[in-house]
């Protein structure tokens, strides 16, 4: 059974999701901060979505990680590479609890996930689906080197009013 590999960066640890991740993550997804992630989602729904992103490691060989700060083991949020059936290709996503924003943690974790992907897969590309009004996420995607790809197919059922595609490419 494939499980999430643990990845350590200077300040972060990406590791498989644990049960203790669910209360803070489900609270986040139920809050106004989830406006760019499909809206406030009831805990019952977000449990299932997160569990499916863990099961994705078995089905796809990639999925989501819980993110911890190595200095104090604080749970900070989630980074994942996922491709549910609605997605035409694998997608890198990130979400941090509000208390951990503004320190470059998301960039550090997302870069680690990207590096893992270039190492673990044969693919030369990865996308991030971002709400067009989510300026912080767009800035982060750009900082990671991704470029807007207006020709990329969108997830089934989504249109340009809710999703723009930023494309990451394997470094040459």
């Amino acid at each position: 059974m494939t499980i999430a590999p643990t990845i350590t960066t200077p300040r972060l640890r990406l590791r498989g999701h644990a049960l203790a991740d669910f209360p803070p993550l489900c609270a986040l997804f139920a809050s106004a901060r989830a406006a760019y992630m499909g809206g406030a989602i009831p805990a019952k729904e977000s449990y299932r979505w997160i569990a499916a992103e863990v099961g994705s490691w078995v089905l796809r060989g990639f999925g989501s990680w819980g993110v911890e700060r190595t200095s104090d083991d604080a749970f900070m949020g989630q980074i994942g590479i996922n491709q549910p059936l609605e997605f035409p290709e694998p997608e890198l996503g990130w979400v941090l609890l509000e208390a951990f924003e503004g320190h470059g943690y998301a960039a550090e974790g997302a870069q680690a996930a990207l590096d893992w992907w270039w190492d673990a897969s044969d693919s030369d590309t990865l996308v991030s689906y971002i709400h067009p009004d989510n300026a912080r996420s767009i800035a982060l995607a750009s900082r990671l080197g991704a470029q807007r790809d207006p020709d990329a197919p969108l997830p089934d059922g989504e249109d340009g009013s809710e999703t723009v595609v930023y494309r990451h490419r394997r470094p040459q």
């Binding site: 049960l19 805990a43 997160i50 992103e53 863990v54 549910p84």
Partner: protein
């Protein structure tokens, strides 16, 4: 870990290879009882396969697939306890036959894992499912907390905490 292998039935933790049997079930009329059905869409049916695979990693227990000696999948049965569930719940997806597998897994949970109690949450409109619960020896628990107010709670063994 194989919980049981007889001439009739082998039970193993669900794996990626069981998708081929479970996806069509979720998209069938009977998938309705597990939160899917013909109108649910392949994306949601895929998630319903991924969720128990993730649950097993998160909780350390979960669903088993029951197969005949010929390899035919007859049921998916096992315990589920998402973050908002009041207690561990035994569920089943009957492809063709659940009784023997459910009995085996319930006994395994009690005798091998040492669990104190186990319930099933059943939609009152799902007559076949609560008939099976009763056939398995479960009794109605009218006072136990439940995820949805309309669910029936059947307790297989032990008493509410």
């Amino acid at each position: 870990m194989t919980v049981r292998a007889t001439d009739r039935l082998t039970l193993r933790p669900i794996a990626a290879t069981d998708m081929d049997d479970l996806m069509p079930f979720h998209l069938s009329d009977r998938g309705h009882w597990r939160g899917a059905g013909p109108d649910a869409g392949a994306g949601w049916a895929w998630r319903l396969c991924a969720i128990p695979l993730g649950h097993k990693q998160i909780h350390g227990f979960g669903n088993f697939i029951g197969r005949t000696a010929a390899g035919e999948a007859v049921t998916s049965v096992g315990a589920f306890c998402p973050a908002n569930w009041p207690e561990r719940e035994q569920g089943w997806s009957t492809l063709t036959d659940t009784t023997e597998a459910a009995n085996t897994v319930i006994n395994h949970d009690r005798d091998e894992l040492g669990w104190d109690t186990l319930v099933s949450y059943i939609d009152p409109a799902n007559a076949r499912s609560f008939a099976l619960a009763e056939h398995l020896g479960a009794t109605r628990d009218t006072t136990a907390p439940r995820p949805d107010a309309g669910d029936l709670v059947y307790r297989h063994f032990g008493a509410a905490a």
